[in-house]
């Protein structure tokens, strides 16, 4: 039993080490979503480590606690895979930043993260771990804190990595669609008047033409 316990302890500590490395990684857009998700997984690992420590005070339940720790470690490992493709090497800042602005403009307050996947799939997935954390025996303080820090359900936006090369094309199409949409919704853009004038100034100075052509919203 002590060999199994050592093996489980080793597995959990390696997983914890890998999570620390991932938390230190850079995520595009510097948005907090991936790190909040990683904190939840760290909380699960700490809970599993807590089960192993509980064996000291409760040796009669050693087998059950050991199995619980192993299963929870596997569970944490499975949930870690949900963030695969979210680091800066997979999805660039130039994709995530506009997405974030878009989400903020839509007043979506859920914790969110973005990832690329090598599949022809655009996806908006919802993730909810509240019930899971609530039902576990003796959840760690870190898990409860991480659950409390997120706005649930979490959202995960997946974009196909194959489409990255086509993004300028999407941007051109979206720009043209924006003209049609703007004509229909007639948004109030008066608060952007100073920026608009600044933009006109920069364009005219670059093109070396007069500002007589300027217009207002």
């Amino acid at each position: 039993m002590s060999i199994a316990r050592n093996a489980c302890s080793f597995f959990l500590s390696r997983l914890r080490g890998e999570l620390s490395r991932l938390i230190e990684s850079t995520y595009p857009g510097y948005h907090p979503g991936p790190k909040i998700w990683l904190d939840v997984i760290v909380g699960l690992v700490e809970t599993a480590q807590g089960y192993l420590q509980a064996i000291e005070t409760n040796p009669a339940d050693e087998k059950k606690l050991l199995l619980d720790a192993e299963v929870l470690g596997d569970q944490a490992y499975s949930l870690l895979s949900l963030i695969s493709g979210a680091d800066a090497s997979q999805i660039p800042h130039q994709i995530v930043d506009p997405f974030q602005r878009w989400v903020a403009a839509l007043k979506i307050n859920n914790t969110i993260f973005f990832r690329a996947e090598h599949a022809s799939n655009y996806e908006l997935a919802t993730i909810d771990c509240r019930a899971m954390a609530q039902n576990l025996n003796s959840p760690s303080a870190g898990l409860l804190k991480a659950i409390g820090a997120a706005n649930w359900p979490m959202l995960r936006v997946t974009v196909p990595s194959q489409a990255m090369g086509m993004l300028p094309h999407f941007a051109v199409v979206a720009h043209e669609l924006g003209h049609a949409i703007q004509d229909h919704i007639t948004p109030d853009l008066s608060s952007f008047q100073p920026q608009f004038l600044d933009c006109i100034k920069r364009v005219t100075s670059r093109l070396a033409i007069s500002m007589d052509c300027k217009k207002t919203f």
Partner: protein, 144 residues
């Protein structure tokens, strides 16, 4: 919800069943925790009941959206079907018994025995399912 793991891989499901069994067997539990455990299990059984409705009504589109409900019912049906004639009715009765226990702290001996029977089968199903799961590939550790 993609975080819904297969029932056998979800330790929280095992814990909620074990804790419910302990409550029904009159082990001491803090009132708040007792209520939370019974509410969680009732919700799980409710999901399984929804899953049974999916199967009975052939609502495939609904099934795609409610995968956890369908999976929960599929697992319960798989393990309860050999020992129970009408699994959906059994789940409904277990749910009603747990709600009664949660809200009024009381159960007749028959209700208690029935609920214990269903929960023990359910726990056995989770543990058996876990044992039958194929072993994961060996993990590779790189020492630096």
């Amino acid at each position: 919800m993609i975080s819904e793991l297969p029932p056998a891989a979800d330790l929280s499901l095992q814990h909620v069943i074990e804790n419910s069994l302990a409550i029904i067997e009159r082990e001491p539990f803090a009132e708040e925790r007792r209520r939370q455990v019974l509410t969680s299990l009732t919700e799980i059984l409710d999901q399984a009941s929804k899953g049974s409705q999916v199967v009975q009504s052939n609502m495939l589109a609904f099934g795609a959206e409610e995968q956890p409900a369908f999976e929960r019912f599929a697992m319960l049906f798989h393990y309860l079907q050999p020992v129970a004639a009408d699994v959906p009715a059994l789940l409904e009765r277990a749910k009603a018994n747990l709600e009664e226990l949660r809200d009024h702290h009381g159960q007749s001996d028959q209700e208690r025995a029935e609920t214990l029977h269903v929960l023990r089968l359910l726990l056995q199903a989770v543990l058996t399912d876990r044992c039958l799961k194929p072993l994961v590939s060996p993990r590779e550790y790189v020492f630096s």
